[in-house]
């Protein structure tokens, strides 16, 4: 990977990685640190990382960093609302708000699975490589997460 390709990766994937991490951690500064760490690692290993694999590499590094961070600090368990740092500028529709609430109720594995699938469009196999799971586990965990989201949406107090 050349310097130009690396900087192109910054333009293309920095927002995606940051969204993936910040919606998991719900803490902007920590998410920025993780994104910087991921890109720093990509820069250091740019000689060995192929350009077309750079996105998966970034997500893999960022996910592992995030898991380490969650293990070290239990900040995520202390926050219920994703309301910090003005990331959401526009009024959120009720459906989306309810869905975000449901998403925040998932554990980090299920939440990461849903986001990697819906935001990034990764396949079961690719998600498995990023999260170090096999394809069957991804499928089972993701379907379980979907049904949890569905059940929250159709529950009596959250009828859309």
């Amino acid at each position: 990977m050349t310097e130009r390709e690396y900087n192109e990766c910054v333009n293309q994937y920095a927002d995606n990685v940051f969204r993936f991490i910040v919606k998991n951690l719900r803490h902007e500064e920590d998410a920025k640190d993780i994104v910087q760490t991921a890109f720093e690692k990509l820069w250091r290993n740019r000689e060995s990382v192929e350009t077309d694999k750079s996105k998966s590499y970034l997500f893999t590094v960022a996910y592992n960093q995030m898991i380490d961070h969650i293990r070290k600090s239990k900040r995520i368990s202390l926050k219920d609302e994703f309301s910090d740092s003005g990331i959401q500028h526009q009024p959120v529709p009720q459906v989306k708000k309810t869905l975000m609430e449901a998403l925040n109720r998932l554990n980090e594995t299920q939440r990461s699975l849903v986001m990697l699938k819906d935001y990034e469009g990764y396949s079961y196999e690719e998600i498995g490589k990023i999260m170090d799971l096999n394809e069957s586990q991804v499928k089972v965990y993701l379907h379980r997460a979907r049904l949890n989201l569905r059940n929250y949406l159709v529950s009596s107090e959250n009828v859309i």
């Binding site: 310097e3 900087n7 910054v10 940051f18 819906d118």
Partner: protein
Amino acid sequence: MNINRHNYEEYFLLYIDNELDVTGKKAVETFIETNPDLADELDILKQACLQPAEDKVSFEPKKQLLEIAGANITSANYEEYFLRYIDNELSEDEKIAVETYVLQHPVLQDEFLQLKQTILPIEEIVFKEKQLLYRRSQPAMVINMRWTRIAAAAVILFIAGSIWWVRTDTTPGSQKNIAVVPSVVKPAPASPQKQNEVIPGKPVVIQKENFVTTSKRKMSDIASNSKSIKHDEQFTQPVLPEVNVSRTVSDKTISKGNNTDVAKTTIPDPTETAIRKMIDKPVVSEPSVASTTVNAEPLTQLDTDQPQDKNISIGGFQVNKEKVRGLFKRASRMFTSKLKTDENEEGKLQVAAFEINTKSK
């Protein structure tokens, strides 16, 4: 085949197990006709055999298994298909099959729509500080040292060495000439009456104010050339009149108990005769004129030394020292600025075949 009443049972078992050929079966049936009392025993053995037609068992889930293998959507597996449809993990044919199935089963449409609502809508979150992530790698800068540059460096080194040698050789002499200046420039501060007092028949006291005003320019020149040079006990010839004049005053000032610099000045004995000769010379009685004439002599002599200090002799050439120093400073500045701009990211500067690490680890 010989069937009799002693071995018929074995043939009856072979008969019901269908292990006899056609000839054997006919022989068994002929034996039963000739011995009708044994027909019941054959019937009992026939009834002991299991009949598959009567115990027909069907595997109900068998159909379901076949449907999964054939990717057909049923009421048992539709949720699996719905979820894979949402995850975009189905082929185009399977997607069409799911959509068809949903249309055919209106009861499941709500469930299908509910699952579709669990897809996260795209949310744009911008990482604003991308500047922190950009990187720029610089290749190692190589400065080509051609022979002309090497020759220029050698010349500069030679000039610098010559300057050093000349300076170390000439500095003591210049100190001798300039060392007297402070004693002339800084006469003892006398009281106003003493400054204006003129002793008849004796040399005039040099007034500090007059000296400063008349020779300010020369003083500045002296100061610039001899900043570090202070009092020197080895007096030279040009300053003798000054010392002589001040000594005449010192007789009076000392007697009055005033401690002044002039009074402290000691005059070496070997010059005593020369001083007397200078006293015998006519001195202008006007104080202001006397100060200018007396001071002009040493200052003029100091001034004449300056061109000699500025020039140095290098290999028979007279080179201006200031110009050489300026050239040397300019070269060092250029090299320093080049060094700063050529440092690569790793803090290494390559000069020809050498690489210099300019960052401390």
